[in-house]
Amino acid sequence: MDKHQLRLIAVLTAICLVAGAVLAWVNGMTEPQIKLHAEQAKKNALREVFPEAVDFQSDSALLDTVREKVGPEIIDLYLGYEAQGKIAGVSVTVESRGYGGPLQLMVGVSHEGDVTGLKVLKHSETVGLGAKITEESFLHQEAFTTATTQDTLAVTKDRGEVEAITAATISSRAVARGVNQTLAAASVVIDQLTEVSCNNE
């Protein structure tokens, strides 16, 4: 290899190394803030979907069971507790495939199996169309707020009761699918919890 080729490689490698070092530094500086935002957003979301609960605990064993039984779309779950430490219900986070990409939905389900709240955590839907899934008029419609673990939801086009957003059927369907999965997950959790309390008695 002649001197010239060596120089080519040397310069390119040097630039890559400097770039890597700079980025490692920037990453270190920004990571805490980014994590903080994520934590805060999650806390706010939990409080929003489950206003009655005062404390939330995650349970990885339970999460694994639920993922096994319902599917890998369930990304997270938190058990909600009332003031006296009694279980109020569960908050499930699901990832559903929307129009512009994956969307993340958090649904709170009470111990009795009723929906207590819903929130769209993340989405890449079109502004003004699919993005409307975050609006009150869609997300807090009757079909969703009165849903229970016994229901399977679908948009009106698919002979269900969920009123889809005009010209954003795919996004609306994705939300309905997501809610169905969280209801299934909540159902599994409630069964597990009643099993445990039965065994404890």
């Binding site: 770039a19 990453n27 512009g100 990409g101």
Partner: protein
Amino acid sequence: MAELLVLSLGTILISNIVLAKFLGICPFLGVSRQVETAVGMGVAVTFVMTMASAITYWIQKGLEHFGIDYLQTIAFILVIAVLVQLVEMVIKKSSPVLYQALGIYLPLITTNCAVLGIAILNIQESYSFLEAVVNGFSGGVSFTLAIILFAGLRERLEYSPVPQSLQGFPIALILAGLLSMAFLGFSGFNLQALFGI
């Protein structure tokens, strides 16, 4: 299997990467004057995109393993640049005719946002290796479909009297808008229901 088909058709028709996701617009506008060159570009892009999706999947795994996934952008674009260089060398040696035809378009694939875009999308959507490769291939088909249709339209446009201010890019963009509108019709497709999942 049905899920892969849903994924594939979704990328090709419903969320066409050019007409709905706005990836690959520069080559879409630049290389679509004739159907022949459009086909060549489309095939080259499909090949690069499929390979890039496969390779970047493992690169991401590696980056995550060492906790350096902030290097994703650099790593991905370098991989794509190298891949395009390799493809160029291979075509030059194996088919000088094809090389003549594609000429300057090949290096342009590096800056084709569709290739990098699909690679990043595969990671964002947490696709498995198989899903990533299928998505990469479908992305290429998606691009090829759009560019061939567009080239066909533009060839016909050559015979139309276009007002001077609209000549060139303006009318091409408006035409692309109409094509995009046509593809909007696919958004009513419930692929999941069609394939029963």
